[in-house]
């Protein structure tokens, strides 16, 4: 039997480079004659620009060029709409996308008004002080509800209202369901803004070589191919004249797939103007304004139930903050809308959202990408319903689960990939039971909690469910080659930001070809090496690119078997591939190394049969018909210090189902990292904007990221329900850890303070905010 690689906890191929400081990140690119860029950014969130004076800045020694909007001529264009609105019947949509440099009006703090190119970054930043911009301040649009009032200032003057989009989706008949219900519960829920805060800020190096007429761009992007195509079109170059490299990236989490960032188009343009390489590396403060953010939503939601806890319907009307521009269309609020339904049978659903322009940084997907809002609303409604109906909160969930035999399950609305929201497969109850067992739910509620509460402790337990639409199309591709050395190379278009693609893709190829994983060399994120692809987003790398690698590797396997069969004069079924050799089964003396076969498949002289392709190589593409639905359960036990209101997570359990697992070690890491970000989002991280749209905590000193002291050990387990939609049976897992944490915190806190009837309806929380909520609840008792 040959060694199995798929499904093994194999350590990562990329790690030695990263561990020794020898991996190339964008800011590590150093080119001869390179210039450095800094941006003058607006402090005001909403203001008309009267004049910009760059004359004295230009005088400063070391400054090479300064550009403002009018210097860009025809190159000045609003960015493209990345995701057009999906084909939903009731839809209003106003396209407004970001601009490279602000021309007339600033629409959020941190928008760039001028670009400085200098001999060093230090000089470029010095020159910022020499730029004088005269602004006419305008009232800012900050609050979502105020934004929709008739007398609200307008973010985009040419629109009648601050509406970016309005979408309604319907399943069944909510009104009817509500009229038949024994109980209807209505509540308002808030979710506030946070930021992805990847440890590496964004950065771009662009280098135009006039002699070869070729542009090379290193970019911290999750979508190098789309960046190449766009830059070529904008600059009037052939795609073959542009190479975009996404080298190692220090965390992506979504905002690095936004395109085009103004800096991306400006750097590429500037190197063409100047004929010298240019570099811009975002600093942390800029990252708080110039990199996209996520998540203000306000939901007015209702659930209709029968007395026994059966859900009859849900209605949800919400506002979504798109920020100043909406290049990403409706992806985030549609995710909220679709993910709300969760693993439950909801026969009737009415969901309507209004996406609102505000004078705040742009919102695009960040890990979870709106899914956590939907989960929060649904799980909270179920918690409140359970309380009102005196049903255990686990039991009410169990009663409403979609059952295994009901898959594929059609939710009759349209998902972010434009396909109907159909769950491919799932098996929810076993995951729930396993989570209850691991957290010790029954025993905790019966014995431990009452006992500890009697001793004066505040301690709560929570269990929530979620589903995650993953692995959406359109497609990715991969080329697998056996080289003359006998080693295997795999090239794919998608970039990697720490997800372990160098290893998981290698495992997929190794499984087919019978070579050690360390002999599979992966290349990702270089557009000169692979031409086609969409990018790393929506937990799709393993699913979409993984299956492309699988298909290409299977073809190469067939080629090896055919060639070896001919040479050894045996039937292909009698051969096996072991450790980089093809041999007659059980007869190692017949082994032919892959290298030899590769060389023979690529002869330098002589004739080959007509129709023969050279080499042991294959390129394949994979595009799923729709996304694969992963699911899971999180559970935790939480204590609250009655004096300080600091919380401590005592125990955290995750049981998830993302189909077949390529590498459990990498998967665990993804889950743990996701939970850590979820914890940050639930209890530590909040961007505070004042009424003028100024961000008050734009530094890591004031914006609290969870540290090693805040994130607990996570006990995890998994259930495997393969996806029928792809040959590997995998589903995505990149976002699952982060999605349900807000809902989990809320439930645990309510449980800890159930004596005073605490009802947490907002995220993020903090010790301060929790204290206020507890005081309010106490007053109401």
């Amino acid at each position: 039997m040959s060694t199995r690689y798929f499904g093994q906890p194999i350590k990562r191929n990329e790690d030695p480079r990263l561990l020794t400081g020898r991996a190339l990140f964008t800011d590590d690119v150093q080119l001869a004659g390179m210039l450095h860029v800094a941006f003058a950014r607006s402090d005001l969130a909403h203001a008309r620009i009267r004049t910009i004076d760059v004359a004295s800045a230009k005088e400063r020694p070391g400054v090479v060029a300064i550009y403002i909007a009018k210097d860009l001529g025809d190159f000045w264009q609003p960015g493209p709409l990345l995701v057009p609105p999906p084909p939903v019947e009731q839809l209003e949509f106003h396209q407004r996308t970001q601009v490279p440099l602000t021309k007339d009006k600033v629409r959020h703090a941190g928008e760039a008004v001028a670009m400085i190119v200098a001999e060093s970054r230090y000089v470029a930043e010095d020159a910022l002080d020499d730029i004088f911009v005269e602004y006419e301040p305008l009232d800012a649009v900050v609050d979502l509800e105020a934004a929709l009032k008739d007398d609200a200032p307008l973010v985009h003057d040419d629109l009648e209202r601050n509406i970016s989009a309005r979408v309604a989706q319907t399943k069944g008949d909510w009104t009817q369901a509500a009229s038949e219900a024994d109980l209807v519960i209505s509540r308002r829920f808030h979710y506030d803004r946070g930021t992805a805060a990847a440890l590496e800020n964004r950065g771009i190096v662009a280098s135009w070589d006039a002699k070869t007429q070729h542009l090379t761009v290193w970019d911290t992007t999750q979508a190098p191919i789309a960046i190449r195509n766009g830059l070529a079109a904008m600059l009037g170059l052939s795609e073959r004249q542009v190479r975009v490299i996404a080298p190692f990236i220090g965390g992506g989490f979504g905002p690095k797939i936004m395109m085009f960032y103004p800096e991306e188009v400006l750097l590429a343009w500037a190197t063409l103007q100047l004929g010298r390489p240019v570099k811009w590396i975002e600093d942390r403060e800029e990252n708080f304004y110039a990199t996209t953010q996520e998540r203000v939503q306000v939901h007015d939601a209702a659930i209709a139930l029968r007395r026994d806890g059966t859900i009859l319907g849900v209605k949800d009307i919400f506002l979504h903050d798109s920020g100043a521009y909406a290049p990403y269309g409706l992806t985030v609020p549609i995710n909220s809308q679709c993910t709300l339904l969760g693993p439950y049978i909801v026969p009737n659903y009415y969901s309507e959202f209004t996406s609102v322009f505000t004078n705040k940084p742009i919102v695009t997907p960040y890990r979870g990408a709106g899914r956590q809002h939907g989960v929060f609303v649904m799980e909270r409604l179920l918690d409140i319903a359970a309380r009102e109906l005196a049903i255990d909160r686990v039991e009410i969930r169990r009663r409403n689960f979609i059952r295994p035999e009901q898959f594929p399950y059609n939710n009759e609305i349209i998902y972010q990939d434009f396909a109907p929201l159909v769950y491919d497969s799932g098996n929810y109850e076993p995951a729930l039971e396993r989570a209850l067992e691991l957290i010790g739910y029954e025993r905790f509620i019966r014995e431990e909690q009452p006992q500890r509460e009697a001793e004066g402790e505040r301690v709560g337990i929570a269990v929530v469910n979620y589903i995650e639409g993953t692995g959406i199309g359109p497609y990715e591709g991969a080329r697998v080659t056996v080289e003359a050395s006998g080693k295997v190379s795999v090239v794919t278009g998608i970039g990697t930001q720490g997800q372990g693609h160098y290893t998981s893709f290698a495992q997929v190829a190794a499984e087919q070809l019978g070579v050690p994983v360390s002999d599979v060399h992966i290349v990702t994120g270089d557009t000169d090496l692979f031409y086609w692809g969409a990018g790393t987003f929506a937990s799709r790398g393993a699913v979409v690119a993984g299956n492309a690698v699988h298909a290409a590797a299977a073809n190469v396997r067939a080629k090896i078997l055919k060639l070896a069969g001919e040479k050894l004069e045996v039937a292909e079924e009698d051969l096996e591939l072991i450790e980089g050799r093809a041999q007659v089964k059980g007869a190692p003396e017949t082994a032919i190394p892959f290298g030899q076969l590769a060389a023979e498949a690529n002869p330098l002289r002589g004739a080959v049969k007509p129709g023969t392709e050279p080499g042991l190589e294959s390129t394949e593409y994979f595009g799923p018909e729709r996304g694969a639905t992963a699911s899971g359960v999180h559970a935790m036990i939480l204590t609250v210090d009655p004096e300080t209101f600091l919380v401590e997570i005592e125990k955290y359990v995750v049981v998830h189902d993302c189909g077949k697992v390529i590498n459990p070690l990498i998967l665990e890491g993804q889950i743990q990292g996701g939970v850590a970000q979820g914890i940050g989002n639930a209890f530590y991280e909040q961007l505070h904007f004042n009424e003028n749209g100024a961000l008050l905590n734009a530094s890591l000193m004031d914006y609290l990221l969870p540290t090693a002291m805040d994130v607990p050990d996570i006990l995890s387990d998994h259930i495997e329900t393969p996806s029928p939609l792809n040959p590997l049976g995998v589903k995505g897992a990149g976002e699952a850890g982060a999605i349900p944490v807000g809902a989990l915190f809320a439930q645990a806190l309510d449980n800890a303070f159930r004596d005073i009837g605490l009802e947490t309806r907002e995220i993020p929380l903090s010790p301060n905010r929790l204290f206020e909520l507890v005081m309010e609840a106490k007053k109401a008792v």
Binding site: K11, R12, E14, D15, P16, R17, L18, L19, T20, G21, R22, A23, L24, F25, D27, D28, Q30, P61, Y122, A196, A197, A198, L199, E200, N201, F248, I249, G250, G251, G252, F253, D283, R284, Q497, G498, Q499, G500, L665, I666, E668, G669, Q670, Q672, G673, G674, V675, A676, Q677, S699, L700, M701, L705, T707, A708, M709, V711, D713, I714, G737
Partner: protein
Amino acid sequence: MQLNHTITLIVNGQQYMRSVEPRLLLSDFLRHQLGLTGTHVGCEHGVCGACTVVLDNEAVRSCLLFAVQANGREVATVEGLSSGLHPEQLHPLQIGFWEAHGLQCGYCTPGILMTLVPFLRENPNPTATEIRDLLSGNICRCTGYQKIVEAVQSGAKLIQEGSS
């Protein structure tokens, strides 16, 4: 224009003499003047720990120091921890991180390793709580820290085995 200073220092055992602006950060000096880009920058205000290097046996944040402050002193960066990429060339702590999957994007990793090197010399056998306490000044946005803690423990064990 500010006058440049000439500084002499040892980095990873090698002596360098360079002329630098007084305001040049040590992190920028290491990365862009010496080309030692393994030291990363995540915040430039002393919070994230990505830029940590060892200065005369003490872990320091190179974004909070000027290059001139390293004059006459000895700096160790992540590049000096191993002699190359091959498994047998790696420092035991690096092996620990590799085996326990203690890194994802790897951007925080050099700073974390350089925080740990002097610490483990003083505390060869730390508990999980001590490790978490020490690393509370290093932000990792990817891993959730759990596997980093495991990595440190297995690395510490490997260091002890190696020196016994």
